[in-house]
């Protein structure tokens, strides 16, 4: 049995997500697909398991062309995929969740569901995996790891020959991960071909036989795990020189402290985070998804509540009750989800820019002033448009993001919080955004920049703080030069 992927490519609009990738999955072998965020790992697996349509290339299962119409057909024909996101419905039973899209197969002549048959079919699959719960247990009593097992069971219910796991351990705790890895090992012993995507190096070395490294949508290398070290894999993953798209850095960092954060905690998401933000500094925050960066920004901006900790702004304690309060205290935030949190795409550029800081003349809005501010901002952050009255949905992603930045700047903030300011933006617009950010810092604005892009953290930040599972694992000081390899080590 083998599953061969040949020269597969996939574009999403202008971005090439997967570029001419070939890879082979063999029976009884676990292959890890590794790479940075956005390298195309998940997309590749989704293409071969029928979730995305490929633009070109071929896929063969046992030398027969494999062209499933959708996910269910792929699974029925032998290739199952376990989603990264939880797809469990907590209001249904375990057996119902496993057979969620196949309940028709369990109908009695009257059209009702034969629960006995359903439960015993589910129990059989669970027994094969070897789990510590029964198909009839209440689903609410299980932990996240066990929920993941139910999703695995859903895939196995099709009796596939190939199964893919996409970041299955991302939200599990230590014990849950261990139990999950054991299940994957058992599947391997049953002779299945297995592909996993994971950010955790230790899992790759514990589990996988071979690794395929991807970068920017392209295939980089195929390696046997026993022939390679963790460092070598990471170098292959990063493998890129820093280009000149980043602006020149400042010579000295001001001694003046704008904001001090002390012992900030939020349940499991954020643990005892302490740091200082200097005047005119760009402080980068790095870390994997779920490492706590989003929570940190949200708490500072008053959008989420901390469980412990304090924040001082220019030596006075700052309450950060809600976003309105944060704005009044000189904060402004560029949210992570541009079109959901950042701007109202059906509104005009002008209305979006002035949303946080409406100019008043008596009780009325100062419309002339608003137009003036909008035009000034369009100049300042170089938004490409004919008029400030244009709706935002007429703009490209990069220009939309500039509108969000303009909206932040229109409130005259002292401290700017950026959540992945260049996510999903092409290189040209990135360069312009970096220039704007660096200019603002030079004018004395203090900037906190959360980013998943390591190159950006190194190229733009004055100092960089790395978070790992909610804790600060490393602070690169002003005179320290971080490398992508060392940053990844602190993230994992």
């Amino acid at each position: 049995m083998d599953f061969t992927v040949k020269n597969v490519s996939k574009r999403f609009g202008p971005t090439v997500a997967v570029d001419n990738v070939s890879v082979r999955f063999a029976a009884g072998e676990i292959r890890a697909i590794v790479g940075e965020n956005g390298a195309g790992k998940s997309t590749l697996l989704k293409i071969v398991s029928g979730i995305h349509k490929r633009d070109s290339g071929e896929v063969y299962l046992d030398d027969k062309p494999f062209n499933p119409e959708n996910y269910v057909q792929a699974a029925t024909e032998g290739v199952a995929y376990v989603f990264q996101e939880t797809t469990i419905n907590p209001y249904l039973g375990i057996a119902e969740n496993i057979f969620i899209n196949r309940l028709r197969e369990f109908r009695t002549p009257l059209g009702l569901i034969n629960r006995k048959k359903l439960n015993s079919a589910a129990q059989k699959i669970l027994d094969d995996i070897g789990v510590d719960f029964k198909a009839t247990d209440p689903i609410q009593s299980l932990n996240l790891g066990q929920w993941k097992t139910i999703e695995v069971a859903r895939g196995l219910a099709y009796d596939p020959k190939v199964i893919f796991f996409d970041e299955s351990t991302a939200f599990l705790n230590y014990n849950e991960v261990k139990a999950f890895l054991n299940i994957v090992k058992r599947l391997k012993e049953r002779g299945m071909a297995i592909g996993i995507v994971t950010h955790h190096m230790n899992e790759i070395f514990e589990l996988a036989d071979t690794a395929t490294v991807m970068k920017d949508g392209r295939w980089v290398a195929d390696k046997k795990i026993k022939d390679i070290t963790q460092d070598e894999i990471q170098q292959l993953m990063v493998g890129r020189k820093l280009s000149a798209i980043y602006p020149d850095k400042k010579e000295v960092l001001s001694d003046e402290i704008t904001m001090k954060v002390e012992g900030l905690s939020c349940g499991d998401q954020l643990k005892d985070v302490t740091f200082e933000l200097h005047k005119g500094e760009i402080l980068g925050i790095g870390g994997l998804k779920g490492a706590g960066g989003d929570e940190l920004l949200s708490i500072i901006y008053g959008d989420e509540k901390e469980t412990a900790g304090k924040i001082w702004v220019e030596n006075t304690e700052y309450a950060h009750k809600n976003p309105h309060d944060a704005m009044k205290n000189g904060f402004s935030m560029l949210p992570g989800e541009r079109t959901i949190e950042g701007l109202i795409t059906t509104f005009s550029i002008k209305d979006n820019i002035n949303m946080g800081a409406m100019k008043k003349k008596g009780i009325l809005t100062d419309l002339a002033k608003e137009t003036e501010v909008a035009n000034e901002m369009i100049q300042k952050v170089t938004i490409k448009t004919n008029s400030c009255e244009m709706p935002c949905d007429s703009l490209s992603g990069g220009n939309m993001q500039k509108v969000v930045i303009a909206k932040c700047l229109a409130t005259n903030p002292k401290i700017l919080l950026l959540n992945n300011p260049t996510r999903g933006i092409d290189v040209g617009a990135r360069l312009e955004i970096y220039t704007v950010i660096s200019e603002l810092a030079k004018e004395g604005m203090s900037i906190l920049m959360l980013s998943e892009d390591l190159g950006e953290l190194i190229g733009v930040s004055d100092r960089t703080m790395i978070l790992r599972r909610g804790e600060v694992s490393k602070m690169y000081e002003f005179d320290e030069k971080p490398t992508e390899e060392s940053m990844i080590t602190y993230m994992l």
Partner: protein, 326 residues
């Protein structure tokens, strides 16, 4: 850079092309409807009929001014009819003692109802549909208790002269009040931060919140504004019929929502505005007026009204939107 510009231009054109029919539908519909009614009955285009329509549309349009704000924020207020009746009863009960100044109590009664709605919805986080359905039912009960099911007459000459008399050229006073209210509503919605904040909440509540807009406070104020408008509508209605009855405004919420929606403000909020609601209110009212003049049976009228509502939304809905955001 150049590529960007052309992208902008073409989508601008698309916008305009989309706009041409969808956005002008209410006015086209209104004009066509008037012409048809005018051809069927000569009296339709008389000055007399015009003033009749003006007097009849007052309650709907003034209530619509409140409902537009609520719907603009993406929520709904079903309590219109009951608030209207409540404020009418308050008016009728306070007129004997306070005369013309009973209007203060009517407005306060409406604002209070709106405040309660707003608090339950925005602070209590009860969905607006449920919150206002509750007050729709409960307030009707209050009205029944206050009136004991018997109409409360209004006899005060001065009050009636002010609120249901006619001024120069025989223009009804209520119409003058209505015009003032419409202008004020327009200014508040389009020219003040409060109006823009309400619109922003409808366009994207999360975006508005992160932009530092006080979402909860704005929502409560929107409901208070709406209640105030319903209160004024109740006042003018009671003056017109010289009494407050227990059944006043029953089912009226549907007419008001229809007027706003036919005028182009979708229930999801964010877009639309006062101008649309003016057209919507006149469409609904003239439709009734014209059909009455034609002597159409109420049963048939009901069918036509229902079809017009669905047709208007069917035509004005933006079907491209989902494809764009996906």
């Amino acid at each position: 850079m150049e590529e960007n510009m052309t992208v902008n231009k073409s989508s601008w054109k698309d916008k305009f092309r989309n706009k041409s029919f969808r956005d002008y539908f209410p006015i086209i519909f209104l004009v066509v409807m008037c012409i048809v009614f005018g051809m069927m009955n000569k009296r339709f285009f008389s000055w007399n009929n015009f003033t009749v329509i003006l007097v009849q549309v007052v309650t709907l349009l003034v209530s619509g001014m409140g409902a537009t704000f609520v719907i603009m924020t993406g929520s709904i207020d079903l309590s219109v009819g009951s608030v209207l009746a409540f404020s009418a009863v308050v008016t009728a009960l306070t007129v004997p003692q306070f005369g013309v100044f009973a209007f203060v109590f009517a407005i306060l009664a409406g604002a209070l109802c709106g405040l309660v709605n707003g608090i339950v919805f925005a602070i209590g986080r009860v969905p607006s549909f449920i919150a206002t359905m509750g007050s729709l039912t409960a307030l009707r009960g209050v009205v029944l208790i206050l009136t004991q099911g018997v109409p409360v007459q209004i006899n005060d000459e001065k009050f009636l002269t002010v609120f249901s008399g006619r001024s120069f050229l025989g223009i009804p006073n209520t119409a003058i009040f209505m015009v003032i209210i419409v202008i004020v509503s327009y200014i508040i919605l389009e020219k003040t931060p409060f109006g823009k904040e309400a619109r922003a909440i409808g366009g994207g509540e999360r975006v508005a919140e992160l932009a530092g807009i006080k979402v909860v406070k704005t929502k409560v104020l929107v409901y208070m504004w709406a209640g105030t408008m319903f209160g004024i509508a109740g006042l003018l209605q009671s003056a017109r019929v010289l009494a407050a009855t227990a059944t006043l405004g029953e089912g009226f919420e549907l007419d008001v929502i229809a007027a706003v929606v036919v005028g182009g403000t979708p229930l999801s909020g964010g877009v639309g505005g006062i101008g649309g609601t003016i057209l919507g209110a006149f469409i609904i009212q003239i439709l009734s007026n014209g059909m009455n003049m034609m002597g159409l049976s109420p049963y048939l009228q009901s069918i036509v009204k229902g079809c017009v509502l669905v047709l208007a939304v069917f035509i004005s809905i933006d079907r491209t939107k989902k494809a764009e955001t996906k």
